[in-house]
């Protein structure tokens, strides 16, 4: 799972959960897959992101020196930051780990890089 996907996943389908975001991420195994830096794409995806979850992901991935805690303005002009965002969001692949619902503590496992967001029949 890439950390960009992490920014979009919620647990709001669980019965009684209101927001279900951001999920608590734990990484037990990750790999870095280099991919081509596409500044326009990173810029286009920026408005869709929740910065607190971006920063949260950076904390778990131990990249806090690259990513500021508060979203700076005019990121589009800051090529260096865009590159770092690209690295954080698209090059770090969580192979094993888990996502935890902030409200109920329900755990969603990540295996072979694929998160399993399925709920059980008594949870929906």
């Amino acid at each position: 799972m890439k950390l960009s996907t992490y920014n979009f996943l919620t647990s709001m389908a669980i019965k009684g959960v209101k927001v279900g975001f951001p999920l608590k991420l734990t990484i037990s195994k990750k790999e870095v897959v280099e991919s081509e830096f596409n500044p326009t794409f990173v810029e286009r995806i920026l408005p869709k992101l929740d910065w607190s979850a971006v920063y949260g992901a950076a904390q778990v991935a131990e990249l806090t020196e690259d990513i500021p805690a508060v979203q700076p303005e005019n990121i589009g002009e800051n090529e260096l930051l865009l590159q770092k965002l690209h690295h954080l969001l698209f090059e770090i692949d969580v192979l094993e780990g888990q996502l935890e619902c902030p409200e109920t503590g329900r755990v969603f496992p990540i295996t072979d890089g694929i998160p399993n967001m399925l709920l059980n029949e008594d949870e929906v």
Partner: protein, 488 residues
């Protein structure tokens, strides 16, 4: 001053119903100015006008239904008029065309006839009939610098070939369409395929309908083996998928190839993208149930391309809802697979349109298939949504009485109903009956009827045979005694 130039489009005579829609989608995607001169869209040769050569090349750079595009020199409905037009064209554009006729420019003339066959000798005679062309270059059949095409169209009906060609066209080859991709992305060579992987041509067509462009974010909520993501990634989209089937997404389900006993370790959707050199375009796949909300409201996709399960080769399922958990004896540490229940096509399409209305960007497109039985097709059965415009709807026949329609929707206004209880914006006159039930149980004749009819036929055959005086051999007892002999 506005000026247009005329071109010949040569289409493959396949998926004809999709031709106009693909053309319109690509024209809209590139923002081209175009005038279509051919009214009968079933014809494999169209005359169109583009603003300039660049526009024509842009169109050819994406079309999968287009074989090739030519710069028109002459078009007529009979031979005399044709030669006159061609002679005039070459004469009036003498200076512009001079470069193609120069002695140091090698050339080739191809004769293409539709719906009538000609021998090589006859084709050469057709080329000779244009001996007034001021060509000075040398012939090079393998690798010519200029390629001219002489095209005759002899109607569409092979049982009713007219005495004279209906259209005669002559033009210079400008570019080929993208049909080579059909072979490049063929499922035969693909690493990871499943029972319902979409073939390369149709998935490329779907990506064209969705107007996938460089840097788009594309989502498939019923991703399966990711066959639709391949084509979207090929056109430069960043792809994301989800599916309820854990074994499928992890490529651990039963293999679909007859020669393959177990899945290989490295099969995956990502491996497919890597195979075609677009691994960079892979974002993620997720195991998730489409009937439950998963995605953050902020996410917006540029397009959603999907082929939902029809319930025939892949099950239509969602996680079952149970209110009591009294029969639940599992412990925390036990692996549990949620039981699934039937997900009717009706509620599936309702959910899909609602999801698209919520999560598409304004102007983004939803492209999906709708299966149905041809005899009860009614344009009213196509689902509608107040925030989505239905732009295209074309049919592909599947079996004798089933078919599917490729639906293209475009989001036309911003979603503004966050209240889930109000979200019945999808209008869908009830699908007559569930596709699966109808497919298996409500055939034109039921299975029992067919069995009885066949038995009756056999009985009649036996009676006739006896009447002819032939002694029936008891095949069954013969086989039984043969088997007995083998074991004794």
């Amino acid at each position: 001053m506005t000026s247009y130039r005329k071109y010949i489009l040569w289409f493959a005579q396949e998926h004809v119903d999709f031709r106009v829609q693909e053309f319109d989608s690509l024209v809209k995607m590139f923002g081209l100015q175009v005038r279509r001169l051919t009214e009968q869209t079933l014809k494999p040769f169209w005359l169109v006008e583009f603003r300039d050569k660049e526009a024509a090349l842009k169109y050819a750079s994406r079309s999968v239904l287009l074989r090739a595009i030519f710069e028109l020199y002459a078009h007529a409905n009979n031979l005399t008029e044709f030669h006159e037009t061609l002679r005039n064209h070459v004469d009036t554009n003498r200076h512009a065309l001079a470069g193609y006729f120069r002695p140091d420019t090698s050339f080739k003339i191809v004769v293409e006839t539709y719906n009538k066959h000609f021998s090589q000798r006859e084709k050469v005679a057709k080329i000779e009939s244009m001996d007034y062309l001021p060509i000075e270059g040398t012939v090079n059949l393998k690798n010519p610098q200029v390629e001219w095409w002489y095209i005759e169209f002899w109607g569409l009906d092979p049982t009713d070939v007219p005495p004279e060609p209906k259209d005669i066209l002559f033009g210079r080859l400008l570019a080929s369409g993208q049909r080579h991709l059909i072979k490049d992305l063929s499922l035969k060579q693909r690493k990871f395929i499943g029972n319902t992987s979409m073939d390369a041509q149709l998935s490329l067509l779907m990506a064209n309908q969705a107007m996938v462009r460089e840097g788009d974010l594309v989502f498939d909520p019923f991703v399966g083996t990711g066959s639709l993501l391949v084509s979207a990634a090929k056109w430069g989209g960043y792809v994301l998928g989800a599916d309820i089937d854990y074994m499928m997404v992890h490529a651990r389900c039963r293999p679909s190839r007859i020669t393959q006993k177990v899945r290989e370790k490295d099969e995956s959707i990502r491996a497919n993208l890597k195979q075609y050199g677009c691994a960079d375009r892979y974002v993620d796949v997720v195991v998730a149930d489409f009937s439950n909300r998963l995605w953050h409201p902020r996410i917006s996709f540029d397009s959603i391309i999907t082929d939902p399960p029809y319930g025939i080769r892949e099950a239509t399922e969602k996680v079952e809802t149970k209110n009591s958990s009294k029969d639940n004896s599992r412990r925390e540490d036990m692996v549990h697979y949620p039981s699934t229940s039937h997900y009717s096509l009706q509620s599936l399409y309702g959910d899909l349109l609602e999801f698209a209305a919520r999560h598409l960007r304004l102007g983004g497109r939803l492209v999906c298939w709708l299966p149905f039985h041809r005899e009860d097709y009614d344009p009213k059965m196509v689902p509608h949504h107040q925030y989505l415009n239905l732009l295209a709807n074309s049919e592909q026949p599947l079996t004798g009485n089933t078919a599917r329609r490729l639906l293209t929707y475009e989001k036309c206004s911003e979603y503004s109903s966050p209240d889930r209880s109000l979200a019945s914006a999808t209008q869908m006159s009830t699908l007559p009956q569930d596709f699966r039930d109808r497919y298996f149980n409500n055939d034109l004749e039921s299975r029992k009827d067919r069995r009885m009819r066949k038995a009756e036929q056999r009985e009649q055959g036996r009676v006739e045979m006896e009447a002819r005086g032939k002694i029936p051999s008891n095949g069954r007892s013969k086989k039984c005694s043969l088997n007995k002999a083998r074991f004794n």
